[in-house]
Subunit: 346 residues, 3 copies
């Protein structure tokens, strides 16, 4: 196998549009840049990182850590913040953006738009005759669509997905391979990656002298518009009320969301974090990787919980916490320094 050369947009896996003249790209990005005629008409075939981009590819710099790569890039154009524009080599056009990473997202989508639904339903899919399937829905091989399921227009359901009885899915959702959904209502543009589990029973039981008595889990899971959920993440349905993931929130791989969790709009939950039952997150909360939150607590708006943090009580809006048990960032790093100093003395 000779595959050591890294590759952006390998045509075996990615569709590509273009080439596009640079002036068209700049217009697409909404940037106000005066290109001279020569540059404006030059054609570009795609995007690539600084170290591998060629003269007809566009690159970007977002992280100061990689500034040495900028100086040596062969890219024909580079999206940069104003502060770095003078570091762009002469043979390359500096495309100055207030938010280079957002511009990068935009230009990469321009060359490589997400494939739309083919509208085809594979004959091996098992679809209940009571299911209501919208227009232009793609359903791949061996997917299972249960009784009274509703699937909105333009959805893509990948191979082996299982959509259980009564589930409702809004328009233009993408449901990955091997996803399981039960007891749930999904808004529009929801994206579930492979192996996501939505709507199974929460971890609820009463302890009795004879063992454990299961408590029926009678709520649902609500995934609002634009929610995205990473591979093998698990979201349990509510016990009495619903588990709710607010519009636009992004959840990474292998995350656990317990029953009755209420998450606000545009929250971020990074991989392997866990949120215990009945905890609430207001809008714009960030939970970093491997953090854990106990149940029945409240995380205020725009609060940020650090990686591996163990949160045992409410977190105020706008605050940054880290450590286990959670404390303000400053206090945590002061503790680390203090203990190091004391250890050396002892």
């Amino acid at each position: 196998m000779n595959q050591t050369e890294s590759h952006t947009g390998d045509p075996r896996f990615f569709q590509r549009r273009g080439p596009f003249a640079l002036c068209k790209v700049v217009k697409q990005l909404g940037l106000e840049i005066d290109l001279d005629t020569e540059h404006a008409q030059k054609n570009f075939i795609g995007v690539a990182p600084l170290h591998s981009a060629g003269p007809n590819e566009i690159s970007f710099l977002d992280n100061r850590r990689y500034i040495d790569l900028l100086k040596e890039t062969r890219a024909g154009a580079v999206i940069v913040a104003k502060a770095f524009a003078d570091k762009v080599p002469e043979h390359s056009v500096a495309l100055i953006s207030k938010d280079p990473y957002q511009s990068w997202a935009c230009v990469a989508q321009f060359f490589h738009p997400a494939a739309p639904s083919t509208g085809k339903i594979h004959p091996s899919a098992v679809i209940s005759e009571n299911a209501i399937i919208g227009n232009n829905v793609e359903i791949s091989a061996l997917a299972v669509i249960g009784d009274k399921v509703k699937i909105g227009d333009g959805c893509i359901i990948a191979s082996h997905a299982v959509i259980e009885t009564g589930v409702e899915i809004g328009a233009n959702c993408r449901i990955g391979a091997h996803v399981t959904i039960s007891h749930a209502l999904l808004g529009e543009r929801v994206v579930l990656y492979p192996g996501v589990r939505i709507g199974q029973d929460g971890f609820g039981f009463a302890v009795t002298p004879e063992g454990f008595e299961t408590v029926p889990q009678l709520g649902r899971v609500i995934l609002e518009d634009g929610v995205e959920i990473g591979s093998n993440t698990t979201i349990d349905r509510g016990s009495m009320k619903d588990t709710i993931i607010g519009a636009g929130s992004r959840i990474d791989n292998l995350v656990q969301i317990g029953h009755n969790v209420q998450m606000g709009r545009c929250c971020i939950v990074v991989s392997q974090a866990g949120i215990s039952g009945s905890t609430t997150l207001e809008d714009f909360v960030t939970i970093a990787a491997q953090a854990g939150l106990i149940g029945h607590i409240h995380i205020g708006k725009k609060a940020r919980v650090g990686a591996q943090c163990g949160v045992m009580s409410d977190v105020e809006a706008g605050s940054d916490v880290i450590g286990s048990p959670a404390m303000p960032f400053k206090e945590f790093f002061r503790n680390v320094a203090t203990l190091r100093k004391l250890s050396r003395k002892s």
Copy 2:
């Protein structure tokens, strides 16, 4: 999508029995309560949480944190401990229970019993002709049942489950969608949620100068009666002896159980915890979320391991540990307080 109103027992997803007269409910719960005639005959249609229950629904209070909701509830009856009975509003009947949460489990099951097996085998399931399938077994679409598999009476096998060669499953088990089982023997009433992986090779290899040499994993997984295992949890088979999960134990989502782990009866393992190979847990051990145990250690009866705890050595029966490395609860919180005090001084 208009789904902000939370919903208990949405008929799209849950079957419901009843209505039932309150006297019948009280009898079902085994409570000794003298109801006056008017209350005894009043019909109830279901259960709901305090904040949304209506006059013909039953609710409960178990967590002191929610006592304000009790005072304002519209529920027709509320299950409470004796200590809170005087906080139940006048229009609501107080159903006094020694264990309100257990009574809640019982009443919720009464209105919403788990659906029994339909006894139907979907024609798309792929079933070996050498498999032995019991009476009244339900097998859903596209499940795969391997050679010489035995499935007991009354089992429910969901869509896309894969039961590999030789696996034996006792009566009345529920195997979720996308579950994989190999090299395993299951008792009765075992419940596996979607995406559970049972019986794959443990992480075993010898380090050699040329790389790693795989050690064949020649044991099995034994899941005793009544075990329940959460979504996407992985339980590796033993290397030489068996991996054993004791009767009645409850394991949450995304938990890792290594090869040769021996778990006693009625243990609890909360989400994202990990137990390394050859570690043993006696009966009634609790492992909280995201805790990790190294291999080859012994956890005594009724010990409790706190969230995110890192356990590097044996834990005595009945003790409570937390922290990484693990220490008694008291010591952990004293350490936290000491370090905070010293940091402020420095």
Copy 3:
């Protein structure tokens, strides 16, 4: 269910060769041992652990912790290091090895070799007519093989595996049940356990005033020769360059590998660890269970990261770190001791 007796190599699940004369076993192990004639011709039927092995079974001792079992074993032969040879009971032949665990791997494989491909393709598998399937490939029930997929000679593809468009798999790979692979190139002898997710989008988006803008993930996943990946582990494809897992590396269950991670040869990543995007590991790095690495850092050759460690910066080659934030082992345990002492005083 009567299954308390633990069992090595249960014939319901494992194929077995033999019996073999001890001289043949010793030759297979490459050990230089002078057996007397009686021992040399004695037949052995298999392997078993010290506590359950019988007179015609071979066992081993690798961990000093189990030396008491050695003294009492009924095994007919025991693989041991020279230092323990005099602890082997008289009725048992001591098979002295410089690396008993490697010898154990070898003898267990001798009696229980991995089953080769049957070369059969199940009629229920859904295989694109543009896929290129090698010689002697086994494809189980309901697997899905996409357009232009290439599968090398001797591969085994288990039930319900989904191999998406364009994926290339080298010779003699084993792909477990319910695995999903997209945007990926696999070398030879790669082993993926059930529920592994390879090649889905990384967690990439730009934060905008209106919410999150998805950044197309245009790289691939490269799994080099001999890589093994545990159940329900997730490996995201690169954003612009590739995510690479180096030859011979072993990854355990429920691990998260972010986009653009570059892992060298023969690395070990234990269960529930997480490696964030764009971090690089040189050869022979070990990451213990539940450790977490932030993105964009570099871990030097042969470095070892302890369980639950939180790594926020580069780690030097050959060093051992633990704690959150990560520090040298010695410093960590000195800190623990210091804090305990100070707490007792206060």
